[in-house]
């Protein structure tokens, strides 16, 4: 738990009125750029003057990566080269939504099915984890009570949960969703609790002087102050959930990007495995960017 506040610091958006003042100076560069014009509408992205190198840099990075890949593939071994993988990818993505029986469906269906599982597991985790985080942050006793359990369960590998899920639910699909739920729960609880605990005592003192009710404290002080932390937790969680689903589906089978990878591995089709790796990565990136966008919309002015 001690490492978490540091993560939170770097990811915290700045425009929280009542956030601790010292933190707004230690921003992540990406976040800084995103919010450099607070007087404009929140979701409009203003470009920094040094935009050209910033736009070019990712492309140069990608180009170097592909070049390195091509060199390694050329050097021998069984790694397919970028060009043949690209052709294969065009082939796979030219018809992403075909359905040929339950055992052969397009990659689009597989990704959507996996996203559906992630959505349910992650949604349930948010429903449980965020309120729990508030309670743990607000009440010291509860937090001390939960600390050992969370500390023990948090580092457990997602796949260790799968047999338990199978035992409890007696079905593969709920078991996979359960694994996502368990794994995405912890970042949300911990970050929300840390957020609540980091509210300056002054605010709470003022609240006490004004004799505010617990509900008003929650609405006017806790929630706005904690939101950035909470969103960080949600972002970490969705990353974890997406990581976990691929692993869980490899074991349970059925439709889904994880089993797609497994099936291609069964055929030792390395090109398709590489395509799946990129697909998983790009979808994960999209999820993360979506969360950042959401975070910006919900930041309090």
């Amino acid at each position: 738990m001690s490492a978490l506040p540091a993560t939170v610091h770097t990811l915290k958006p700045p425009r929280v009125e009542i956030g601790p003042a010292d933190e707004s100076t230690q921003l992540h560069p990406a976040m800084n750029q995103a919010s450099s014009a607070p007087e404009k509408p929140l979701y409009v992205r203003t470009r920094a003057p040094d935009w050209l190198p910033r736009v070019l840099a990712p492309f140069i990075g990608l180009a170097l990566f592909v070049a390195l890949w091509a060199i390694i593939a050329r050097a021998g071994g069984r790694l397919p080269d970028p060009v043949s993988t690209w052709h294969s990818a065009v082939d796979v993505f030219s018809n992403p939504f075909y359905k040929k029986g339950p055992n052969d469906q397009g990659i689009g269906w597989n990704v959507l099915t996996s996203l559906g599982r992630v959505g349910i597991g992650f949604g349930l985790a948010a429903l449980v984890g965020i309120p729990l985080g508030f309670m743990l942050g607000r009440f010291r006793f509860l937090s001390d009570m939960a600390a050992p359990i969370i500390s023990i369960l948090k580092p457990v590998s997602p796949l260790a949960w799968l047999p338990i899920g199978l035992m409890v639910f007696k079905a593969a699909n709920p078991a996979a969703i359960y694994v996502i739920f368990v794994c995405s729960l912890w970042p949300m609880i911990v970050n929300t609790a840390v957020g609540v605990r980091h509210i300056p005592q002054d605010y709470l003192n003022v609240a006490r002087v004004l004799n505010l009710s617990e509900w008003t404290i929650f609405r006017k002080i806790l929630f706005p102050a904690v939101l950035p932390y909470m969103i960080t937790g949600v972002r970490l969680s969705i990353g974890v959930a997406w990581l976990v689903i691929v692993a869980a589906e490899m074991l349970t089978g059925g439709v889904g990007i994880g089993f797609w990878v497994w099936d291609e591995w069964n055929n030792l089709n390395v090109q398709h495995i590489i395509i799946a790796i990129f697909t998983v990565g790009i979808v994960g990136l999209a999820l993360e960017q979506g969360m950042i966008l959401l975070a910006r919309r919900f930041s309090y002015e």
Binding site: K100, P102, N103, L166, M250, L251, T252, G253
Partner: protein, 420 residues
């Protein structure tokens, strides 16, 4: 063999006649027989119209797949939905929790679950045997470079050059585990003391053999041939060399499913028997089967990897080619599909031999409970498949030891190389 078959056919005819003659008489006194007679007449419809049958992408899932593709299931009023599974462990879990109605599954796995060996314990049912033959013992190129060509030269190398030799199988209680243990032991190699034997999925076997971590494995086609195509290993022996016409995959389910849906059970067994007969009917049918199962929906591989050995054309990868009359069979006039009690008992004797089963059980009683010959006979009648004269058959394995199913306890304890 031929004489046997003729005898079987004759006896089947006789039985058919008796059945027809007796249908109105004696048999109607027995409730179960009433049910089956009524079912045979088509008045007792399947309780569950759609059945989800699991399979692992291997050549021997063919009869289950073809029962669906060729619509043999329709004939019996059901729809078979083949469902590709991730691993044998996943098949076991989904069978036990009822997510799959039935599955293409390792013979020994069903007995492992029945007796709760290293996993869940549940009453299981074997409806029919799916195939004979068609697995192989693959050894690595690295061993070949050291002069290993077969079991004997392997044993000589292991005796001479101490080191860690790793062999792989697909599931602890499964058929491939029992084949490789038996094969190693038949050549004087103790599968646990002399070498390391591990359970891994087939692609990992190939990947490990490629980098030199794996010395040998036993698995079903197309993996043995795949090792030859990829030039990483060779076939030291086929499993039919170990035991001609050995049992392999079965159509397995739980006793609970059979209780609940007896008519559906009969219908799906009959459909898969029909599919097996169709596959075995001609070489062109076999060719077509290979093309169908190679599809992405099923085995997901190049059909060239499947088709040669499906037609009995073998190449061991180190210069020997031959036409094997004992290639993978799916029907063989009902000899393949019949769930022989002696086959079921054999797996238990091997579980006992290798210490998976800690004490002797009543082998015959367990086999009678698991292998549902009663239901099979109904399905055989519906498909006009001949029945063998006895539910016990005699086999002479590679080491010359005869298994006649008469004294399983003695047989299990008779091996020199064993655990405990």
């Amino acid at each position: 063999m031929n004489e046997h078959r003729v005898a079987r056919r004759k006896s089947a005819k006789r039985r058919d006649f008796l059945k027809r003659a007796g249908a109105a008489g004696i048999m109607s006194l027995v409730p179960a027989a009433v049910r089956s007679a009524a079912w045979a007449a088509g008045s007792d419809a399947p309780e569950k119209k759609e059945v989800k049958i699991g399979f692992i992408p291997l050549t021997d899932c063919s009869s289950v797949v073809m029962a669906s593709v060729m619509e043999f299931d329709k004939k019996y009023g059901i729809k078979i939905v083949p469902s590709k599974e991730a691993s044998w462990a996943a098949v076991r879990d989904k069978l036990v929790n009822g997510e799959l109605d039935a599955s293409h599954v390792l013979y020994g796995l069903i007995y492992g679950v029945q007796m709760g060996l290293g996993g869940p314990k549940k009453d299981m049912a074997i409806l029919m045997n799916l195939n004979h033959n068609g697995q192989a013992f693959t050894l690595s190129r690295k061993l070949y470079d050291k002069g290993v060509k077969d079991g004997n030269t392997l044993a000589a190398l292991i005796a001479k050059e101490k080191g860690e030799y790793t062999f792989a199988q697909t599931f602890p209680t499964g058929t491939h585990a029992m084949w490789i243990y038996y094969w190693l032991a038949a050549h004087g190699i103790h599968p646990f003391n002399d070498v390391k034997t591990i359970t891994v999925p087939p692609p990992q076997m190939v990947a490990n053999m490629r980098v030199g971590n794996m010395d040998g494995y036993c698995v079903g086609e197309p993996w043995p041939y795949r090792a030859i195509v990829d030039k990483i290993g060779f076939t030291a022996n086929t499993t039919q060399d170990l035991w001609k016409d050995h049992p392999e995959k079965v159509l397995g389910t739980t006793a609970e499913f059979v209780e609940k849906y007896p008519n559906t059970t009969r219908a799906m067994t009959a459909a898969v028997i029909d599919a097996g007969r169709w596959i075995d009917a001609s070489l062109s049918n076999r060719q077509k089967t290979a093309e169908v199962v190679a599809d992405k929906s099923y085995v997901n591989t190049d059909k060239e990897v499947i088709v040669a050995r499906m037609l009995g054309r073998y190449d061991n990868g180190i210069g020997k080619t031959w036409d094997d009359p004992n290639y993978m069979k799916f029907y063989n006039d009902g000899y393949v599909t019949f769930p022989f009690l002696s086959d079921g008992m054999w797996f238990m004797t091997q579980h006992r031999r290798w210490g998976l089963l800690k004490v002797d059980v009543d082998y015959l009683a367990v086999a009678k409970k698991v292998n549902r010959i009663d239901l099979y006979k109904d399905a055989a009648a519906a498909t006009k498949t001949s029945l063998p004269q006895s539910p016990v058959r005699v086999a002479r394995l590679m080491d010359g030891v005869v298994w006649d199913g008469k004294d399983p306890k003695k047989y299990a304890g008779s091996f020199k190389i064993k655990v405990a």
